[in-house]
């Protein structure tokens, strides 16, 4: 089973990289660009039948830092 784990910064956590992207899009002439936020996409192959609890534990113990990040798991 393939997992796609999307890790994003929590609301309220400043994202300097996102800010730089906003400015760069603006300087390319794109108007109406709002807030940009940078996250990560992690793809992991796991054995079929891996429990949701284990997947959650993988995210909480390593893949995301829950002090600053949220995560979302998509199974494929």
């Amino acid at each position: 089973m393939k997992l796609r784990i999307v890790v994003t910064l929590k609301n309220g956590v400043l994202d300097p990289q996102g800010k730089a992207i906003e400015h760069a899009l603006g300087s390319l002439g794109f108007s109406g660009v709002g807030e940009a936020r940078v996250g990560k996409l992690i793809e992991v192959d796991v054995a079929d039948g891996t429990s949701d609890a284990d997947i959650d534990a993988m995210c909480q113990k390593l893949l995301a830092n829950t002090v600053i990040e949220n995560y979302r798991v998509e199974k494929q």
Binding site: G12, L14, P16, Q17, N65
Partner: protein, 221 residues
């Protein structure tokens, strides 16, 4: 005093830290590889050095914090052994949960490498006993991800409990409330982004870092 410096793949301040500790304590620290599962017997101080452990993959300090030796470090910290994490060492200690918060990319996105002025906020800790509260000292920083973040409640708690050891006297990296270094609730774990081991003797352009290690030696011996 017997001490240990933890060495990860990608550590690059381990030797400087060992030289600093030896010059103050008179004893060479044991260099302990990340794959070890136990610390040497009788270690009175554990130092987690700066660098780019595991290439900063995933997040700075994230992989190192899950390495075998760090489990032993966390256990020793729980028993009250003093632990100091500098730069990447600070990032690793936050990733283990020994210290609250996280270190994010610098606000200006640049790697910042220069001397900075720090204000000693609290001289009551074992790490800061040789400084005066409110004193300004000069210590270099060299980091890309030193922008301290924690939620408002945690920041209030750190301030209320006197757990902010050092603040930047000027703008450096965007850290919340200018935090440069904090201690844990037990007072035996310090994390700081600046490098005291790089200001040990006059030839370094100053020796403001030396007193941190002298205070530690006094507390532990």
């Amino acid at each position: 005093m017997k001490s240990a410096v933890i060495v990860f793949p990608g550590s690059n301040c381990d030797r400087d830290l060992a030289v600093a500790i030896e010059s103050v304590t008179g004893t060479k620290p044991d260099m302990v590889w990340h794959g070890e599962t136990e610390l040497p017997q009788g270690v009175g101080l554990i130092a987690v050095p700066g660098g780019f452990s595991y290439g900063d993959y995933l997040r700075c300090g994230a992989i190192a914090a899950r390495s075998p030796i760090v489990r032993a470090v966390v256990n020793a910290a729980g028993r009250g052994t003093p632990v100091i994490g500098i730069c990447n060492g600070f990032q690793i200690l936050t990733e283990t949960g020994l210290l609250p918060g996280a270190l994010m990319r610098n606000e200006g996105l640049d790697f910042v490498c220069r001397d900075v002025e720090l204000t000693v906020e609290n001289s009551q800790s074992i790490f800061t006993s040789r400084y005066a509260a409110g004193e300004t000292i000069t210590i270099p920083v060299a980091h890309h991800d030193g922008n301290y973040f924690a939620d408002a409640q945690t920041l209030d708690q750190l301030e209320g409990e006197g757990r902010i050891a050092f603040r930047y006297a000027g703008a450096v990296n965007g850290s919340a409330r200018s935090i440069a270094g904090i201690v844990n609730a037990g007072g035996n774990v310090l994390g700081m982004m600046p490098h005291p081991e790089r200001k040990i003797e006059a030839a370094h352009g100053g020796s403001d870092g030396r007193r941190l290690f002298e205070g530690l030696l006094e507390a532990v011996a």
